[in-house]
């Protein structure tokens, strides 16, 4: 589904990604771990098409299509979803209104009619129940005054609404207490299917107890330096990142 080949990217003249290769197939969950500053968030931003970053080499393909020339919204229309580490606030725009706009813009791009209001309401009801979200939440301004947990849960709610092919969860666990983490992770698990794929970006192994990955990759200094199964995550938890760092600083 997703094929990243020799991806290089820079921001403000600074190289961040230095040759990433990654293949993600439908039905798989990949975890990308690594110390701070290794390029994890850059990778997710680049896949989503954030123009703040410049791709200098390599390619990203989704279902065989090169994404290079596609705008962020076009990538979204093709089924890429990014759960933000820091979701932004949009005052005065309700969660419902935001979702309505997002869904209808995607439909418009696909040449479909707007979703009828009753269908939209049904979908909202269904997905908010799935994620145990209070309905009052839907009329609040997007992320304004939300707690950390509410923001992340709202991201996963949006994921449920948009039903993406590829979801990237960028540090979804940061700022969550254990209960909130469990709710968010349960939500993600309910959305897993053999048709979609999920990339979980995280600093800690904790989240992976709940969202169990098929593969774990370690990102360090802009490269994937180690790949393995979920056992790799435990190893990292135990040993920390230092052994990775020392192993690879020699190469530098």
């Amino acid at each position: 589904m997703l094929k990243i080949t020799n991806l290089h990217a820079e921001v403000e003249g600074k190289d961040i990604l230095k040759g990433i290769d990654l293949v993600v197939n439908a039905g798989e969950v990949h975890a990308i771990m690594g110390p701070n500053g290794s390029g994890k968030s850059t990778l997710s931003a680049v896949i989503a098409g954030n123009e703040h970053y410049e791709v200098t080499d390599g390619s990203i393909e989704l279902d065989g299509e090169d994404l290079a020339e596609l705008s962020p919204e076009e990538r979204a229309h093709r089924g890429i979803f990014l759960s933000f580490q820091y979701p932004v606030e949009i005052p005065g725009v309700s969660v419902t209104n935001f979702m309505k706009t997002a869904i209808n813009e995607s439909r418009k791009a696909k040449g479909l009619e707007e979703m009828p209001a009753n269908e939209m309401l049904k979908l909202i009801r269904e997905k908010s129940e799935l994620l145990e979200i209070d309905r009052k939440f839907m009329s609040r301004s997007l992320n304004e005054g939300f707690s950390g947990g509410e923001k992340k849960r709202n991201e996963i709610f949006q994921m449920a609404m948009l039903d993406p092919k590829l979801a990237i969860l960028d540090e979804t666990d940061s700022g969550l207490d254990i209960d909130a983490l469990r709710i968010v992770a349960n939500g993600v698990n309910k959305l897993r299917s053999d048709k979609n794929a999920i990339i979980v970006i995280t600093h800690y192994q904790r989240l992976l107890d709940y969202i169990v990955p098929d593969y774990v990759h370690v990102l360090y200094n802009g490269r994937i330096v180690k790949s393995g199964t979920k056992e790799l995550a435990y190893e990292l938890e135990e040993k920390g990142y230092d052994w990775i760092k020392s192993a690879h600083s020699e190469v530098m």
Partner: protein, 473 residues
């Protein structure tokens, strides 16, 4: 100036052929008299205009507003021309860009024709609609007609109230308007009557031919209520460069007036060429327990100079001002309100939302004045500015004068910028940038949009989108 006037007078003065459809350029007493005669006004009205004209001659054009423009040459303007615009035979002859805008606003074909000055072939419809309106209103004793008609048909009411809220010599533009006003609307709601409809559609039809110096007078008698919608949401490409309107509202004891405006006059092109200069004086007077709400959405005009105000004369009276002002390209707006608290327990609320884009400048200017007698007066003001890009400006000039120690005045102000991160967030959810901006702007303006009557709010939202189109590069 004096010499110029005399020359003009000589040139065009007394013997001017007042039967012609357009008066010669320039302004003097004879022109004022001629306007009055042309409109078949009674003697008192003529004298009232002359008084205003003499006051105007002594006045100077104000310069304190935060706007820059070349002052109009008041002697180069024709003060009376037949309000008929060029008649077109079909919509095919109308500027396609204008039609495109109509379409975006969802304005019906019939209305499009009216607004763009196309001769109406299905006049029957609008006439019958207008008649139905008039019948419903007449049953309640409500008077709603052009002010020129009211001067003739209801002289006692007009004479009693005209100029009581905005006196002839109130300010430069108000004095000019008082001398030469072309037409406008008059509305009277009798005691205890609740006006059964928003006075809107009718007004829109009514307004199509009104000129550049509009005069509006709304009187809500004791215990009555009226909601009044002014303006047309379509961008009338008026050739008039200068607009100087006056609106007076009188809310007698226990009465309530809601006055909503959507203003979308020609703002000039992208380079700041052309566009309407809009110098408006709007003020309302509240007697005991009365309430006046001003709601405005200002997206048009090259220069806007406008401060809808409330004089809270009666005890327990309430004044409200809700405003959205959008400036783009080279537009300049200096707008806000004055809340003058004279009575006891008077309350006022000010919510102002300024949105600046392009190279525009947007200023909020407001005065909250608490008189010595105004025990327990309350004011709450909130002024928020939203900036788009790096070349525009937002300014806030709040003035507070309190002569009573029991007054409670609160002022909050914020300035924010549409962030790249907000736009990217929307993009990532599949929302293109233009739509994202519209969404963010609508969210920002929600508190004010909510105050507009339903159908007006929808049009106003679309208008915001259109005004800001292409403002993000």
């Amino acid at each position: 100036m004096k010499i110029e006037l005399e020359t003009k007078e000589y040139e065009y003065g007394f013997y001017t052929d007042i039967e012609s459809e357009t008066f010669p350029v320039g302004l003097n007493e004879d022109i004022v008299r001629a306007i009055s005669r042309k409109k078949e006004e009674p003697e008192w009205m003529t004298e009232w205009r002359i008084e205003a004209f003499r006051a105007w001659q002594q006045m100077e054009e104000p310069e304190w507003a935060n706007v820059q423009y070349e002052k109009p040459d008041f002697q180069a303007i024709s003060y009376y021309s037949a309000p008929k615009k060029k008649q077109l035979n079909s919509l095919d002859e109308v500027d396609p860009e204008l039609l495109e805008t109509f379409k975006k606003l969802g304005i019906s074909i019939e209305e499009q024709k009216k607004l763009s000055g196309v001769a109406m072939d299905i006049v029957v419809d609008s006439v019958s609609v207008a008649t139905t309106f008039k019948q419903t209103l007449a049953e309640k004793g409500i008077i709603f007609c052009p002010i020129s008609e009211a001067i003739k048909e209801h002289p006692d009411l007009v004479r009693k109230y005209l100029g009581t809220v905005v006196p002839q010599r109130d300010n430069f533009y108000a004095a000019l308007n008082s001398a030469v006003f072309s037409d406008g609307s008059f509305c009277y709601i009798p005691k205890g009557v609740r006006c059964p409809m928003e006075l809107s559609t009718y007004f829109r039809i009514n307004q199509a031919g009104t000129g550049q110096f509009e005069r509006t007078l709304v009187i809500a008698d004791e215990g009555s209520y009226v909601s009044y919608l002014e303006g047309c949401t379509a961008p009338s490409r008026d050739e008039n460069q200068l607009h100087a309107a006056v609106v007076e509202l009188v809310a007698l004891d226990n009465a309530e007036i809601k006055y909503s405006t959507v203003q979308n006059w020609y703002p000039g092109d992208k380079n700041g060429q052309g566009g309407v200069y809009n110098f408006v004086t709007k003020r309302g007077l509240c007697e005991t327990n009365a309430k006046i709400s001003w709601t405005q959405v200002e997206t048009g005009s090259a220069i806007t100079w406008k401060y809808p105000s409330c004089v809270l004369k009666g005890d327990n009276s309430v004044g409200e001002f809700y405003s959205i002002a959008v400036t783009n390209n080279h537009q300049q707006a200096d707008t806000g309100t004055k809340m003058i608290h004279l009575g006891k327990n008077t309350k006022s609320t000010i919510i102002s939302k300024g949105i600046s884009a392009g190279k525009s400048n947007n200023s909020y200017r407001g005065l909250v004045q608490i008189g010595a007698r105004a025990e327990n007066a309350r004011n709450f003001s909130q002024c928020d500015s939203l900036l788009m890009g790096n070349n525009c400006g937002a300014h806030t000039f709040p003035y507070i004068e309190s002569k009573n120690p029991t007054a409670k005045i609160e002022h909050e102000a914020t300035t924010s910028k549409i962030g790249e991160d907000q736009v990217f967030y929307c993009n990532q959810r599949g929302i293109p940038t233009e739509k994202a901006i519209a969404l963010i702007v609508n969210g920002f303006s929600k508190d004010v949009l909510n105050k507009l009557p339903m159908e007006f709010a929808v049009e106003a939202q679309k208008l915001l989108e259109i005004s800001l189109e292409g403002s993000v590069g």
